[in-house]
Symmetry: C2
DNA sequence: GTAATCAGTAACCTTTAGGTAATCAAGAAA
DNA sequence: TTTCTTGATTACCTAAAGGTTACTGATTAC
């Protein structure tokens, strides 16, 4: 007498992986929010996020451009400027991020029994 | 003339990190779904997820228990059995996972212009 | 007697993510 | 002239995540 249990709707989870790959890094959401908030230039973004290194930022910006979350425009001129801007499309992530935040907030309550004061609202 | 741009609502993002730490691993959502689907024993879960190793499964199950997503009950007996079961609380993640899935699905359309057939629905 | 089952654990190795520091060329400010 | 700023790139290193293989002890099936 065998139990028949299946998990072969595994492929349906690929989109979940896709999403997590895009927002899952240590910095990606931070960078996205920085750009949403109005930071447009490389150094500006870099300075807005403490401890973020140029190398990681450069890499993440490339990925985010590929994923159509931001646009990159080189403005020829004096010291050569590059402009990053959020796409309209990127804003479809906002709802998701808010829900990740809400769940995380409730989870602290569930696991620790209370909310740490640091966590409030934003964005 | 300086632009004033702030990103110091950074601490509000900690709950987002919390959530991603819990569902963000390579296997965690897979394991959770396997248990939701009815797999209850260690080997059962292990077999239901191809390529998942015992070491990783053992570690993830511990984490998930700490996070109150599952319960672990040892049933004394013949070859010693352990039962894992999903908590009611774990189900609060289902909505979130579905949204990660939906966004990922739409994202493929946005980036590649079409949906790959593999991706449908589940859970 | 041998093999397989259960739920793991331990030692070790590889891969990936992320961090550090130096460097690039061109112009602008000191 | 020297230094600073721009947007990066490169080489190198560390830490964490994940994978591989072997093994445990008790029991049951062959």
């Amino acid at each position: 007498m065998k139990k028949k249990v299946h998990t072969e709707c595994l492929s349906a989870l690929l989109p979940v992986r896709d999403t997590l790959d895009i927002i899952g890094g240590k910095w990606r959401i931070l960078i996205l929010i920085s750009i949403w908030e109005g930071n447009r230039h490389f150094r500006e973004i870099e300075r807005s996020i403490p401890k973020l290194s140029t190398k990681v930022l450069a890499k993440e910006l490339k990925d985010m451009e590929l994923n159509k979350l931001i646009t990159r425009t080189v403005v020829n001129g004096f010291p050569v400027r590059t402009e990053y801007a959020p796409t309209e499309y990127s804003k479809t992530l906002q709802k998701l991020i808010r829900e990740l935040q809400n769940w995380g907030l409730k989870h602290r309550q569930e696991v620790f029994g209370k909310v740490t004061e640091i966590h409030r609202r934003c964005c």
